[in-house]
C-alpha cells in the first residue's frame, strides 16, 4: 500500500502572539460631546520607516495541490509605496453610538487554505458566512479573547462539500479563527459595540467619520505589535489626524 504523509512543514511558522484585546473600551477621557451634530472625523495612517519587514514565506507540505507549496504570512503586509501597514484595527474608545442593526452578512472565505479577509471589524450581532470552495476539509475553530483551548467559542468541521456555514458573532471583542488541519491558517474579527472603527487598507490608511466633536482615545491594534492609544481632539465639521508610526524596538 502506498504510504502518503499528510504533514505540514512550517519552519517559518511562527505562532502568532495573540495580544489580549481590551474589551472594555471606556478609557479615562470621557468625550465632551457637541450638541450639534456628528460631523467630525478622524483619519490617518499606520506606517513603517524606510526599512520595513518583508512578507515571510511559510512552507506547506500538506494538501499542496490546493494550498500551494508555500504561503505568505499575513502578519506584516506592508505597502511598497508608502510603507503603510495593512490589517490594523483602529477604534475610537469611549465614543457612544448605536451599532447599525440588520446589516449585511460578513464573509470569511477559505480560499486556497488562507482566510480572506485576514482581519476585519464588524458590528456586534453580525451574521458571519464562512465559505469553503477549496474542495477539502477545513475546520473552523473560533476563539474569543486569545488562542487558548479554554477560549473556544465553536469548532466546526467544514467538509469539502459544505460551501457555507453561518454563525452569529454575538459578543463584542476579538474573535480569532484557526484551522487545526492547516496550522498556518488564521484570521481575526473585531466585533464592535459602537460604530467608530476602521481597519487599515493596503496603504495603511483609515478613516472614521460621523463622530461628535470631543476628545477621544484612539486605539490601534495589530496582531503582532499589540496596541497603542493616542488622544485625539475632534472638532465639529473637521477631519482630525491620527497617525501611528512603527519603529524598530
Amino acid at each position: 500500500m502506498t504510504k502518503y504523509r499528510t504533514v505540514l512543514t512550517s519552519a517559518a511558522l511562527t505562532l502568532v502572539v495573540l495580544i489580549a484585546w481590551s474589551t472594555n473600551g471606556q478609557i479615562a477621557a470621557t468625550p465632551v460631546r457637541s450638541i450639534l451634530s456628528n460631523d467630525g472625523s478622524i483619519s490617518g495612517a499606520v506606517r513603517f520607516p524606510d526599512d520595513y519587514p518583508e512578507r515571510e514565506k511559510i512552507t506547506t507540505t500538506k494538501d499542496q495541490a490546493v494550498c500551494g507549496a508555500f504561503q505568505y504570512s499575513e502578519s506584516f503586509v506592508v505597502s511598497e509605496e508608502n510603507h503603510g501597514l495593512k490589517n490594523v484595527v483602529v477604534t475610537v474608545e469611549g465614543a457612544e453610538g448605536k451599532v447599525k442593526a440588520g446589516q449585511a452578512a460578513a464573509i470569511l472565505d477559505q480560499n486556497k487554505c488562507q482566510y480572506t479577509p485576514h482581519v476585519q471589524a464588524v458590528p456586534v450581532g453580525t451574521k458571519l458566512e464562512i465559505l469553503n470552495n477549496d474542495g477539502l476539509l477545513h475546520n473552523v475553530h473560533a476563539y474569543f479573547d486569545g488562542l487558548d483551548p479554554k477560549n473556544t467559542v465553536f469548532n466546526k468541521a467544514q467538509p469539502k462539500f459544505l460551501k457555507k456555514i453561518t454563525q452569529t458573532l454575538d459578543k463584542a471583542g476579538m474573535y480569532f479563527f484557526k484551522c487545526d488541519v492547516h496550522d498556518h491558517m488564521s484570521a481575526y474579527i473585531a466585533v464592535m459595540d459602537h460604530p467608530y472603527y476602521a481597519v487599515t487598507d493596503e496603504t495603511g490608511r483609515f478613516a472614521i467619520s460621523n463622530l461628535p466633536a470631543g476628545t477621544y482615545k484612539v486605539k490601534a491594534w495589530h496582531e503582532v505589535l499589540g496596541s497603542l492609544e493616542k488622544t485625539v481632539i475632534v472638532e465639529s465639521g473637521k477631519a482630525a489626524d491620527a497617525n501611528f508610526d512603527i519603529l524598530p524596538n
Binding site: M1, P53, K156, G226, D245
Partner: protein, 337 residues
C-alpha cells in the same frame, strides 16, 4: 484481518520493538474494518484522515484510530462524535453535522475497528514483568495517543522518559483507573487486570530514554510543525522529556499535585527564565526537587521535579532554556511609536 492477527502474534512472540504507528510497515489492510471505514462515505466525504491515521494513512493531529473500538465503547463514541467540545472543551476535533443515520454509521465503523487483545496469553507467559509490560503496551496500542521512541502521536505525553519522572506506584494508580486520579481525563480506562497493571508499570518504570531515537528527530519535528531554531528544538525537548505532563501544555502550569504546598498545583514555567539564569536552570535540573507537603499527616505529593538534567546534553539544556525564554514578555523587532 487474518494477516493483521498473524503479524500481531509474530510481534507479540518476539516481544521486540514496540508498536509501530498503528501497524507494521507492509501490513495488508485489505478487507479489514479499518479499510471499510477508510472507503466509506464518511471518510471520503468528511476526511477524518486529515487528522487521523486509519490503516497506514492519514494525519498526525489526532490519535491513530485503528484500535479505537478496543478502548472506547459505543456510548462514549456517540457522545464524542456528536459534540467533541462537550467531552473535551477546547479540543481540536471539530463537530461534524451528521444526520442521526450518519452518526450511528460512524459509531458502528469506529466500534468495529478493534484488534483482538491477547492479555491472558501475555500474562500467562513466564517472562520478567517489564517484558510482559512491553507486550501489553504493544497489544493495547498505547502509541495511538502517546509518543514513544520514534512512534506514536502527540495527543498525550511522550513516554520515552516516563521512568525518570513518575514513581512506579503512581503509574499503577494511574493505569488502574485514570479517571479516578484525574476526572475528565482523555486517557481511556483499559480495565487492565491487576497483574497487567503491575507489568505495565514495571515496563514504564524502566523507560529512561533507552528508546530515545535521535536519528528520528528531524522527521519528528516536521511531523509536529517544528522548525530548527533553538526555541523550536527546545519545545521538542520539553515535549520529549515530558516536562509538559507536570508543567502544562506550553508551560502554562495548572496541573494538580495533590497535597503540594501551597495550592496543590505545579508551577508554570513561563517566567522561569526571569528567576533562573541559564546556569542556575541547568544546575536545578541536575537534582530532584521534592515539593513541600501541605499537610504533613497526609500522603506526600505524588509528583516531584526529576533530575532530567543528568540525561540531557548541554545543547538540549540550552534549547530548553531558549524555549522557556520565548514566553518571557516578547520584544518584537518592531513597536508602535
Amino acid at each position: 484481518m487474518i494477516g493483521k492477527i498473524v503479524l500481531g502474534l509474530l510481534a507479540l512472540f518476539s516481544l521486540q520493538a514496540v508498536a509501530a504507528t498503528g501497524g507494521g510497515q507492509d501490513e495488508d489492510w485489505t478487507g479489514t474494518p479499518q479499510m471499510e471505514f477508510m472507503n466509506s462515505e464518511i471518510v471520503t466525504l468528511y476526511q477524518c484522515t486529515s487528522c487521523h491515521t486509519i490503516g497506514e494513512r492519514g494525519g498526525t493531529v489526532g490519535p491513530i484510530l485503528n484500535q479505537v473500538g478496543t478502548r472506547r465503547d459505543k456510548e462514549w463514541l456517540r457522545r464524542w462524535i456528536s459534540d467533541p467540545q462537550e467531552v473535551k472543551p477546547g479540543t481540536k476535533m471539530p463537530k461534524f453535522d451528521f444526520t442521526p443515520e450518519q452518526l450511528e454509521a460512524t459509531v458502528d465503523y469506529l466500534a468495529n475497528m478493534k484488534t483482538e487483545l491477547h492479555t491472558d496469553q501475555i500474562l500467562a507467559k513466564k517472562v520478567p514483568m517489564a517484558e510482559m509490560g512491553q507486550a501489553l503496551f504493544e497489544d493495547y496500542g498505547c502509541v495511538a495517543c502517546h509518543r514513544f521512541g520514534s512512534e506514536g502521536r502527540f495527543v498525550a505525553p511522550d513516554l520515552t522518559w516516563i521512568g525518570v519522572r513518575k514513581t512506579e506506584d503512581w503509574e499503577k494508580t494511574w493505569l488502574s483507573a485514570p479517571e479516578a486520579f484525574k476526572p475528565g481525563t482523555f486517557m481511556p480506562n483499559f480495565h487492565i487486570p491487576a497483574k497487567g497493571v503491575e507489568a505495565l508499570a514495571a515496563f514504564l518504570h524502566t523507560q529512561k530514554g533507552q528508546h530515545n531515537d535521535a536519528s528520528q528527530q528531524w522527521e519528528f519535528r516536521t511531523n509536529f510543525f517544528l522548525g530548527n531554531t533553538d526555541k523550536e528544538r527546545g519545545e521538542l525537548v520539553f515535549r520529549r522529556f515530558g516536562c509538559w505532563s507536570c508543567h502544562g501544555e506550553s508551560a502554562v502550569g495548572k496541573i494538580r499535585n495533590p497535597n503540594m504546598a501551597p495550592d496543590e498545583t505545579m508551577p508554570g514555567l513561563r517566567k522561569a527564565t526571569n528567576k533562573y539564569t541559564q546556569e542556575q536552570f541547568s544546575e536545578r535540573l541536575n537534582q530532584v526537587f521534592y515539593p513541600t507537603a501541605l499537610d504533613e499527616s497526609m500522603p506526600k505529593p505524588p509528583f516531584y521535579c526529576p533530575d532530567y538534567g543528568k540525561y540531557m546534553d548541554k545543547s538540549e539544556l540550552g534549547d530548553l532554556y531558549a524555549y522557556l525564554k520565548s514566553f518571557a514578555p516578547k520584544k518584537s523587532k518592531w513597536k508602535f511609536k
